[in-house]
Symmetry: C2
DNA sequence: TTAATCATGTAACACGTTACATGATTGC
DNA sequence: GCAATCATGTAACGTGTTACATGATTAA
């Protein structure tokens, strides 16, 4: 139930609409979580039914009306509870599911050139991913003020994690491309 | 639809039961995918309905009867198709969802000691994860023979990816523990 | 005698994705 | 005039998780 708890975490800092939450996930947390807009509204719904949040309709003249969510005491407690009991998340952090690796694993079925192409695309993704962290660090600086100053170091640690993994993935991609190309040349020189 | 295609990939090398597939995922592919036993049987069911696989009941005296699945022509084509069209998998490879990072992101809400404890557990998981690759490489050597020799290099690349990421995650964890501990000491010396 | 291995499944639920619908306001 | 922003949702489907059921054989 990580998305629900992520929402609780964001609401702890202040009331928000579903739309705000969606933008926050996409702008600042995309390197660690990614959710569909429609899913966020659905989760808010079930969270309200469970009594973790309450919503209030706010009428606006210039823009569409909105529904602002805030934490209840039960929501605060649920967040605390979740944070205090890491469960299996830790064990799963390394494994989980990687569609890209699954493809690569079975790439013997297709041509080596196609695989190299895929790796090159992947390499580009790594570069784009790494570039995105400039914005992430800026967002951290902007947000981590006043009440939120003490969270800053944790935000920085998560960003650092993403950045280091991205860097390693990039190195791996470059190594791998080299390996496949060299084997290819060997094959060619043999014939 | 990655699990379905992973199953197709394994069946390409030869007919198998759901049980065999399950064991293969858990023994050799756990570092890149993890599926529930019940899910595998369900996927096989829908795959058969789609005509990607066919099953044959095999009666055994000494052991429970079993259902052996093999690829149809349509299944082979589907696998080829999937491999040739990487789609969004590549873009998603770096981002996706990380419950562990989500926790860390909101760890300002709990004590620093608790967070350090979590990081230490995580560090242990990294070590265990890295240790598992000995078996993985052995499995690769054992399996990559005869017909399957040409897949070996791809298997090795995926394993190398996992290993490199695991190594980086370990370094990150150790750095992070140090950072939090040092800040703690600063705090203490100020009071 | 207890646990592990072999072998297959059902049911219910939780979570994630895709497609679609609506409609005003603001900036280029 | 067109795209972007603001703002909220529904419906259907696909995928992943949890809990449970069954029952024989074999190795410690």
């Amino acid at each position: 139930m990580t998305l629900k708890h992520g929402i609780l975490g964001l609401l702890k800092a202040g009331a928000m609409t579903g739309y705000d939450l969606d933008r926050t996930f996409k702008k600042s947390l995309s390197f660690l979580w990614h959710a569909q807009t429609s899913q966020i509204y659905r989760e808010l719904d079930t969270m309200e039914k469970r009594g973790w949040v309450v919503s209030e309709r706010v009428v606006q003249d210039d823009k569409p009306n909105k529904r602002v969510y805030s934490l209840t005491q039960a929501g605060v407690e649920e967040l605390q509870d979740w944070l205090s009991n890491p469960g299996k998340d830790i064990a799963d952090a390394l494994t989980s599911r990687n569609p890209f690796l699954m493809r690569l694993f079975f790439s013997g079925e297709i041509g080596e050139e196609q695989t190299v192409l895929m790796l090159k695309k992947y390499r580009q993704e790594c570069i784009a991913f790494l570039a995105s962290f400039e914005d992430v660090y800026q967002e951290i600086e902007r947000s981590a003020r006043g009440e939120l100053a003490k969270e800053k170091k944790y935000w920085a640690l998560t960003a650092r994690y993403g950045e280091m993994l991205g860097q390693t993935a990039l190195e791996w991609a470059e190594e791998s491309i080299k390996v496949l190309k060299e084997e290819n040349e060997h094959e060619l020189s043999k014939n």
